[in-house]
Amino acid sequence: MTNFLQKQLKTKGRAYLYLAVATVLVVLLTGTMKAAVGFLLIFGIPLFFMEKMHEYATTGERFSRYIFLVISASVLVFLIAPVLIIIPLSFNAEPYFTFTDEMLSFDSKGYSNRWYLDILHNGMKAPEAIEGWWSDLWNNAQWIRATRNSFFIATVSATIATTLGTLAALGLSRPEMPQRALITSLLISPMIVPLVITATGMYFFYSDIGIAKTYTGVILAHVTLGVPFVIITVTATLSGFDMSLVKASQNMGANGWTTFRRIIMPLILPGMISGALFAFITSLDEVVVVLFIADVEQRTIPRQMFSGIREQISPTILAVASILVVMSVVLLTVLELLRRRGERLRGMSPG
């Protein structure tokens, strides 16, 4: 048996044949194509990578490697599947959280964009009216208001966090910085302290000074939570920074501001932008502090989702979630491009 397997598995391409046979068997046994697709995904992808192994590997090695690949593939599927599965679910024609029979047979009746329309209509006074539709949407639709709030708060707090954070990172990366370890851990602690504790502290203090339930309060809180990300990304960019450039600039008579603007900033810009993006997304995603210190007027998208999940769970939530997933794909792409650019600038190989 072992000998047989050894021989067969060592011949390239044979394994694919087995996979095909096994898939056909699965189709016959379950009577559906769905199971076959899942089977192929979980067992076929690892096989593809395994075929790339050197030819003199023993059967034991091949087998353990195959098992290892199956496990890794399952974990990756576990990671990505929930994020992707909500996109088709959000086009459900019925108010269910699962695939209906019409959806599975790719019947167009099973799909609709009603939940996306619901995002717009929810809260509007007259969604069918033609006159004044835009102003109705802009002023009354709940999700639109939440989106406006989210983007306003996130933009302002990311700007402040990036400005303060970059300044501080510049100071921290100077060799003369006193008490560097202590100050760094202080500046990064908002990321570590449990959000409930931060939110509780802010709730008491911000109420005392009268900025709870205001935009100012929420923005202050979000700057605090975004700062650690800016510090980490900008400090990382500065760690590969050639300090002799600063000296050269000063030798040629540039003052501190000119040096920063013309020499330092262009070089650390990728770090600054990715820090700003992190701060932006932190604010966009933050819900605990908003739950504690914001009022109805400052409701953000995640806050709206939170009550959506708690109170009346409808596929509208899935539609919103799908839009957010698409948004994070865009953000991820931007970040990746920035990272490559940053590495090129610092003379590292891409990747």
């Binding site: 990671l79 959280f97 006193p178 990064i188 939110a199 005392d208 990715s274 995640p302 979630a321 991820l332």
Partner: protein, 421 residues
């Protein structure tokens, strides 16, 4: 820097050492000044609020603020039998005065709630007496008060009042540790029914440990795969790790609700394939299972990324050397590869544990009853039961644990080594 003109050096007439010290001091100050705006900002927006919360956990003036004169009087009482007629008179007058106060936090009701924490069921005694106390115009006050409610003849009420009259007290830590004062004023274990917090702390620690362990087991093979694959393929697979990492927490929690609920995708699949019957659908969400699955999914990238960045730097030649010297693969792995991944493992483990122990949103949404963590109890006391001091005491205990772990993290790995993506 060298100076072109030596006469300037002589003019300033400072020894080189002192000049150097002065320049260094200036540079140090400059570096510090750059961080100053942010440090000040965080002190006001973050450190001070948390400090105030910590103070709230031992400070509570709900008694002294409502009946100030009585507070000074009762603190002099020796605690034997009932307080004197004089103290009763002060109490009645203070209470009548307090009845007219409308200021938030200074009302009789606030004091009643405060005492009720330590003597469950005593709230009505205060509110009822507060309403009627205005009618007592003259002494003997002791009898008049007992006539309103005979519970005033119970020395226990007065002992509790005396204890609560101190602004600074460990009472809330005692409650947070599932303990209480007994009739003799000693600290004893609370009744079985009221022992919630230590159990919940235990559960939180246990769940955080379990989640961290699952993350280690799941992350290790994936991180290894990513680190050995050619760049093009590993970049592709990296997207599968980074996309969930970048996706909103609420989106992922929503997704898990859609997948795990009884009418959800997994149950439908199981019914479809006949693994379970239509009426045998498994409850996988709104309980501990749901919390664990969703939290593992959310925290897994925090384990994969540090592991990956460490594994990336390990030279494959080490393993090859071990194998070519005749080591069995597993032995080589255990003695050569595994020890080199310890830094990444430590970083990921600590980070995931720290994040898991203070998690709030996911348990609140999918935790149901038994999946609630300590953060949820803190939020409950701050937002619903309004026992702020107890919430603050629980928060302080959680904060101490997290700060200890943060300190360990800093000593072992250094927070500035943290990277994303």
């Amino acid at each position: 820097m060298t100076t072109a003109n030596p006469s300037i050096d002589q003019a300033t007439a400072l020894p080189l050492k002192e000049k150097l010290a002065r320049t260094t001091a200036i540079q140090r100050r400059r570096a510090f000044l750059l961080t100053l705006p942010l440090v000040l900002f965080l002190l006001i927006s973050f450190v001070f609020p948390i400090g105030q919360m910590l103070f709230n956990s031992i400070h509570n003036n709900k008694v002294s603020g409502v009946v100030p004169e009585f507070t000074t009087a009762i603190q002099k009482w020796d605690g034997q039998g009932l307080p004197s007629e004089e103290i009763f008179e002060i109490f009645v007058k203070d209470l009548a005065k307090a009845k007219k106060v409308r200021e938030v936090g200074r009302k009789v009701g606030n004091m009643a709630t405060r005492i009720n924490y330590e003597m469950p069921g005593s709230r009505s005694l205060f509110t009822k007496s507060g309403r009627k106390v205005g009618k007592i115009k003259q002494g003997p006050y002791k009898e008049a008060l007992i006539k309103i409610d005979k519970d005033w003849a119970d020395p226990q009420v007065w002992l509790t009042l005396q204890r609560a009259s101190y602004d600074i007290s460990p009472a809330f830590y005692i409650a947070a540790m599932d303990m209480k004062y007994n009739e003799a004023g000693e600290i004893v274990k609370a009744d079985e029914l009221y022992q919630i917090y230590l159990n919940n702390f235990g559960k939180t620690l246990w769940l955080a440990t379990l989640i961290t362990l699952i993350c280690v087991v799941l992350a290790y093979p994936v991180a290894y795969l990513l680190s050995v694959l050619p760049l093009r393929q590993s970049n592709l697979l990296m997207i599968m790790v980074l996309l969930p990492f970048w996706t909103s927490l609420l989106v992922r929690t929503t997704a898990w609700i859609a997948i795990l609920q009884t009418e959800g995708v997994i149950n439908d699949l199981l019914v479809y394939f006949g693994v379970i019957g239509e009426d045998g659908r498994i409850q996988m969400i709104y309980n501990q299972t749901g919390t664990i699955i969703a939290m593992v999914h959310i925290l897994l990238p925090f384990m994969i990324l540090p592991l990956y960045s460490v594994m990336k730097t390990i030279q494959p030649t080490y393993m090859r050397a071990a194998l070519s010297m005749g080591s069995k693969p597993f032995y080589a792995y255990r003695r050569v590869y595994l020890p080199q991944t310890i830094p990444g493992l430590a970083a990921g483990t600590l980070l995931v544990f720290i994040l898991a122990i203070g998690y709030y949103i996911t348990p609140a949404l999918v935790g149901g009853q038994d999946g609630l963590l300590i953060s949820n109890l803190i939020a409950y006391h701050i937002q619903k039961s309004l026992n702020w001091s107890l919430g603050a005491a629980l928060g302080t205990m959680l904060l101490v644990v997290v700060m200890l772990l943060y300190w360990v993290y800093n000593r072992l790995i250094g927070i500035d080594k943290l990277k994303f993506g």
